[in-house]
């Protein structure tokens, strides 16, 4: 066997062992380890933000800065694509 094949076999077995152990020690579905924050948002989102949709209230109110960064990432991607393809087009 080649050296590359042996190296790839060792690498994939290590990754596979990690994946199997990760699957074995997974939490049961619906039982997070630290449910206090989820319960706080579920209890208070209607009174504090007025929104019925808890996900939107988290995305745009509790975690507004994250959405700002996401919008900046999208803006940068669009600007980069337009710059590159306009240059090819001329």
């Amino acid at each position: 066997m080649e050296k590359r094949t042996i190296a790839a076999a060792i690498f994939f077995s290590i990754v596979g062992v990690f994946l199997i152990f990760g699957a074995l020690f997974m939490h049961p579905f619906g039982q997070p380890e630290d449910p206090e924050m989820d319960q706080y948002i579920i209890d208070n989102t209607q009174a504090q933000t007025g929104a019925d949709n808890g996900v939107t209230s988290v995305v745009f109110d509790y975690r507004g800065f994250d959405t700002l960064g996401e919008a900046t990432v999208l803006f940068t991607a669009v600007a980069g694509v337009i710059i590159i393809f306009r240059r090819l087009n001329k």
């Binding site: 019925d52 919008a71 669009v78 090819l88």
Partner: protein
């Protein structure tokens, strides 16, 4: 003749308004039902990408310039950040929900799936982000398709 066959164009003309209505519904009801600005914007942008597929990028670029899409995207971004700064001015902190509690517009507290005039500043932010995602994704699709088309692009 640019674009695909007459069958595809007809089906696109029928399906496009429905897709646009559904996407705008998802954006407008983002604070009540599942969805929001990003998801609804992706729906609308994929409907418009169907236009590019059916009619060809050159035809679409003649109708909708990518300059205007850039302007729309910038308007969405400025609206989003401006709403956040309005929270700083009228309220107390950045991203403050300053419209919550007033009597006129979007002031209510949600009590079910019927009342759209709730959640303060969240629907306006949804509209801003939705505008941004529509213009951004459609600009990406349109510019890529146009610059690689046989008539106008790099392979001519």
């Amino acid at each position: 003749m640019m674009g695909m066959s007459k069958i595809v164009k007809t089906i696109t003309s029928i399906a496009l308004p429905l897709t646009l209505i559904y996407g705008l519904y998802v954006i407008a009801h983002g604070h009540i039902t599942p969805g929001g600005g990003f998801q609804g914007g992706a729906v609308v942008a994929s409907g418009l990408a169907m236009l590019v597929v059916a009619y060809g990028s050159v035809w679409t670029m003649n109708k909708i310039k990518e300059k205007h899409l850039s302007v729309l995207e910038s308007v969405g971004a400025i609206g989003f950040i401006g709403l956040a700064f309005l929270g700083l001015i009228f309220g107390t902190w950045f991203f403050n929900n300053f419209l919550l509690g007033n009597k006129f517009l979007f002031g209510g507290i949600g009590e079910g799936l019927s009342n759209i005039s709730t959640a303060g500043v969240l629907p306006l932010m949804n509209f801003a982000v939705g505008l941004k995602v529509i213009a951004g994704l459609f600009a990406i699709v349109l510019v890529m398709a146009y610059s690689t088309s046989k008539k106008e692009g790099i392979f001519k």
